[in-house]
């Protein structure tokens, strides 16, 4: 029961939010109430997640399986849920002002966010294929709608349709892989599948097919090359807060699924999915970094940067030892913080008369909003991986893990791309500091955006200088390799 409580809470609050919309109240009021409901629901769910953590601690177990084997409480799930719930809270905070400006402040939006979060909850905690797929689909569908939420904007419509079509295809391929696994194991529970797969012949074509199709679906969700084509368009067209949320929460949840499916369950056939991941990781870092160099639109730039970061996380999975998994967890936490912070700034850029989507919209920000610019610089340094920020710690751990497991060439490639990526991150710094402002229109900030930006940049710097508590937590979680 405890395992389901966060999800129940989220669904309940989401339903209330939907009803707020239906009862015919003025949109502005219902929107605001829905946002507050959403925050309350997320906070409550987070509370329950912490309860789960202490429950697990009190039992002195590292995982507990409930609901007839469908849902599990373990370290990976707890961490992922903490990250995605935090991301949802920040998302709700920053989207309010944006939606008001674009006159789409529907209560339904916040409900969708809560439902998406429910889907992500199940993505992170399910130990059984059907629940997992339900979670993935719930998340995806809510995102399809959120991406196209600003109906008046043609770009948003285009982005939503592209994302929907490609997402549906990848889900179909993914489901096919699931059906093959079910066929092998006779059960949809991940434990049973792990058992069945380990008993098959080493190069069983069915297993290979299953692994390949599942990888395809999963890599689509984390926008790994060559399944990344949807990302730049989707991010560019979507409302900016949604792009940020998509970039952080659904990616983190998808990585949780990768960990659970590939690293934990399909461990026996590591030799099949390792080469796939290596190729995708290298390609993702390359395409992401190089394509971002020439981008003029901010959200596209961050889409490519997210692709590159996905590549780095994959490197941690490829390393696969305790340091590697610890690095993955650390990187996901850090990545969530810095990307959300960056998107908060992007959200504030969209103000009266200015769409705030091009690089040139950042011009002169250092002079007009010095504190915002300084915080953005900290976040950009973290994204590039420069000490003393948290982003450096994340990359450092991945590097450490790669060297520990002998992947020297991958370590070299990853390091080289750190330098290249700095160039496009500093193009943003250049626009802010080295160019004069072109408009006197102030940033569209609200209490929420300022809180979000302050919290994320402060944490980024703090974790960078005093990382020990986070590292220790990651170490404990990583030791649990089921």
């Amino acid at each position: 029961m405890l395992a389901l409580l966060p999800a129940i809470v989220l669904v309940l609050f989401g339903c209330v939010a939907i009803f707020l919309d239906v009862t015919g109240r003025k949109m502005e009021r219902s929107g605001k109430q829905a946002m507050i409901f959403g925050l309350a629901g997320t906070a409550l769910a987070l509370l329950f997640v912490f309860r789960q953590n202490s429950f697990l601690g009190s039992l002195k177990l590292d995982h507990v399986v409930t609901c007839q084997g469908a849902v599990t409480i373990d370290g990976l799930g707890l961490l992922t849920n903490a990250i995605t719930l935090g991301a949802t809270a920040i998302f709700l905070l920053i989207s309010y002002k944006f939606l008001v400006l674009h006159r789409e402040n529907n209560a339904a939006f916040y409900a969708l966010a809560l439902f998406a979060e429910t889907g992500m909850y199940f993505m992170a905690t399910s130990s059984e294929l059907v629940t997992l797929f339900l979670g993935i689909e719930l998340t995806s569908i809510c995102f399809y709608v959120m991406v196209g939420f600003t109906r008046a904007d043609r770009r948003a419509n285009e982005a939503a349709v592209k994302y929907l079509l490609l997402g549906a295809v990848s889900s179909g391929i993914f489901l096919y892989g699931f059906s093959l696994l079910y066929g092998i194991a006779g059960s949809t529970e991940l434990n049973a599948i792990a058992q069945a797969v380990s008993h098959r012949a080493p190069h069983d074509p069915i297993v290979i097919l299953a692994v390949v199709t599942i990888c395809t679906g999963l890599l689509f969700k984390i926008s790994g090359v060559p399944f990344h084509m949807w990302a730049p368009d989707a991010y560019d067209g979507a409302p900016t807060p949604v792009a940020g949320y998509l970039s952080v929460a659904s990616k983190v949840a998808a990585f949780a699924v990768i960990m659970r499916l590939l690293v934990f369950t399909l461990e026996p056939v590591r030799f099949i999915w390792m080469p796939i991941l290596i190729v995708v990781a290298v390609l993702s870092m390359s395409v992401g970094t190089i394509a971002a160099l020439s981008q003029e639109r901010l959200k596209r730039l961050f889409a490519y940067s997210a692709i590159a970061h996905a590549g780095y996380v994959l490197l941690g999975i490829i390393a696969g030892n305790r340091t590697g998994i610890q690095g993955v967890y650390l990187y996901l936490i850090v990545y969530a913080l810095m990307t959300l912070g960056a998107f908060t700034v992007l959200v504030s850029l969209s103000r009266r008369g200015i769409a705030g989507e091009k690089l040139s919209d950042l011009r002169g920000l250092a002079a007009t909003h010095p504190v915002h610019a300084a915080m953005f610089v900290i976040l950009l340094l973290s994204l590039a991986g420069i000490p003393p920020t948290a982003g450096f710690l994340g990359k450092y751990y991945i590097l450490l893990a790669l060297i520990e497991t002998g992947h020297y060439i991958l370590a070299g490639i990853a390091s080289a791309y750190v330098v290249v990526s700095l160039y496009f991150y500093f193009r943003l710094v250049r626009e802010m500091y080295l160019r004069d402002a072109e408009t006197t229109e102030p940033l569209a900030t609200s209490f929420g955006t300022r809180l979000a930006l302050g919290a994320t940049s402060a944490l980024t710097l703090l974790i960078g200088i005093f990382p020990e508590p986070v590292l220790r937590m990651g170490f404990q979680l990583a030791g649990v390799g089921r």
Binding site: A366, A367, P370, L381, I386, P387, P388, F392, Y396, L399, L400, I403, E404, A411, G412, S415, A416, V418, V419, L422, Y423, F426, V429, R430, Y433, L434, P467, E468, L471, R472, F475
Partner: protein, 513 residues
């Protein structure tokens, strides 16, 4: 004596920066005054440090050790020996002067400017004080951030290009340096089970020559870009020329020394077999000699005054690296002394260019001529700087260059011969510069009524002039401070190598001065 003196010195500038950031943006005078208070206090503390420093004790002094990231074996570990003491003194002095000299030239966005200068000071001090490799790497990269802003916002025409080129180039080198550090970390950890970045523990490592050579090159990439050694020097002319005066002074005076310091503190002691490999030594020396000669020759072709001085840094640092890889007492001592000298002298030269730029807003050498008539005091100071840079006896440059050449001669006569040719070329481009700008008739009317040095300009150059003469006439304190650490480094190099494997020309003791 205050406890934790080094930590206080290290963090005072950045603490001052936070106070500065809280001041209102419009009160520019306050920014200037506060920045000066902070930098002068740091300078004072470093002089207290110097007075308490003992030349008789082995190893590192004033060590501060705090557990920082046990999960990865990184500690907050700082300390000084003779070499880093001189670097710290140089840092606090040059930064104080750089902050003071910005009074006239920086008139807008002053808060950010002085904040970046203070952050830079902490970064550079951290590099010279760190005894933990991870902490060292953190400060090494930290330095790049304020320097980017200083060049990029307050610099010349091509400042944006110069700033990002500097950042990317140095970052690429430092990433490879990190990989080298990680290799040492893993080597030590896999042998003892203790994964740490503590330099004193890593000094007990005994690696295979092949392994050491790989790590040497990884570290080399990081240090060589910083120094800069040929052929990694192409970022320097742009960065130095486009930076504001204070930026150039700090770049040339301090940041370049970070690279040579890295060789002395890390490459030589931690990788003794690689450092004494004949082919590596020959490679390093060859690159140094190329830097000396090539740097000097390029100087002869420069039309931009500031760019000429920038290339002269390449040439001078070539002498410093030559001294290091002579691998004897004179070589190393001369190298460190010359590093200090270069900071003083080239810092002075950049200040001088800055003064004239304030007046005429051009750096084209052809625009000048006969300035000695209208600015006699300026011409005198410039003359002293030129002669010090060229290595005239009685001034500081001579001490450094003579000692280095003495060491080089002891290692291999041919090296010293090429080095001397470099000295002659150095005198050539410096004196020719002086002649074209200061002497002769006044070719351009604008130069006729320029104001001589103002009171703040005189104040800024005075300490440098005093040091130029002091070190030139009485360098003994510097030699005393350097004696023990240099002998310790050399002792480490030579005990790790079998006597039979020593190249014929290496010797520990040069002639006693």
């Amino acid at each position: 004596m205050p406890p934790h003196l080094l930590t206080l010195i290290l963090f005072l500038p950045v603490a001052g920066m936070f106070v500065l950031l809280a001041l209102p943006s419009s009160k520019q005078k306050f920014h200037f005054i506060w920045a000066n208070i902070v930098s002068l206090s740091t300078l004072l503390l470093s002089m207290v440090l110097a007075s308490q420093f003992s030349t008789a004790r082995e190893g590192f002094q004033f060590v501060d050790r705090v557990s920082w990231i046990p999960s990865i074996g990184a500690q907050y570990l700082i300390g000084i020996d003779g070499i880093s003491l001189l670097m710290v003194l140089l840092t606090t002095l040059i930064t104080a002067l750089a902050i003071f000299c910005s009074y006239r030239s920086i008139t807008s966005r002053t808060k950010l400017y002085y904040a970046m200068l203070l952050l830079l000071e902490t970064g550079v001090l951290g590099v010279f004080l760190s005894l933990d490799l991870f902490l060292f790497y953190l400060f090494w990269d930290l330095v790049l951030i304020p320097m980017y802003f200083i060049i990029g916002i307050y610099g010349g025409e091509r400042r944006s290009y110069a700033a990002i080129k500097f950042f990317l180039y140095t970052l690429l080198g430092s990433v490879f340096m990190l990989l080298g550090f990680l290799a040492l970390y893993f080597a030590y950890g896999s042998r003892t089970g203790d994964y740490t970045f503590d330099i004193e523990k890593l000094l007990t490592l005994n690696l295979s020559p092949g392994m050491e050579q790989w790590i040497f090159f990884a570290l080399f990439l990081g240090f060589a870009v910083k120094i800069p050694m040929f052929p990694f020097h192409t970022w320097l002319p742009d960065a130095h020329t486009e930076a504001p005066t204070a930026g150039s002074v700090l770049l040339a005076g301090l940041l370049l020394k970070m690279g040579t310091y890295g060789f002395l503190r890390f490459s030589l002691p931690l990788l003794p077999k690689a450092s004494t490999q004949p082919w590596i030594v020959h490679l390093m020396v060859t690159l140094s000699l190329i830097a000396i000669i090539y740097g000097a020759l390029v100087c002869l072709t420069q039309r931009d005054w500031k760019r000429l001085i920038a290339y002269s840094s390449v040439s001078h640092l070539g002498f410093c690296t030559l001294g290091i890889f002579a691998l004897n007492v004179h070589g190393l001592e001369g190298s460190v002394i010359q590093q200090v000298n270069h900071g003083i002298t080239t810092g002075l030269l950049f200040l001088i260019v800055g003064f004239i730029y304030e007046r005429r807003h051009t750096r084209e050498i052809s625009e000048f001529g006969g300035l000695a008539r209208s600015m006699p005091l300026y011409a005198t100071v410039f003359a002293i700087a030129v002669f010090a840079s060229a290595g005239l006896p009685l001034l500081n440059g001579f001490i450094g260059e003579f000692t280095i050449l003495s060491g080089a001669f002891g290692a291999n006569r041919a090296w010293a011969v090429v080095g001397v040719i470099g000295l002659i070329l150095g005198a050539a481009y410096l004196l020719w510069l002086y002649q074209r700008t200061m002497l002769g008739s006044v070719r351009h009317e604008e130069n006729r009524n320029l104001r001589d040095l103002l009171w703040d300009e005189r104040l800024v150059v005075a300490p440098l002039l005093v040091l130029i003469f002091f070190i030139g006439l009485y360098p003994t304190p510097l030699f005393n401070v350097l004696d023990r650490p240099v002998k310790q480094i050399l002792g480490r190099i030579h005990t790790s190598v079998q006597p039979a494997a020593l190249p014929q020309s290496l010797s520990i003791d040069g002639d006693q001065r």
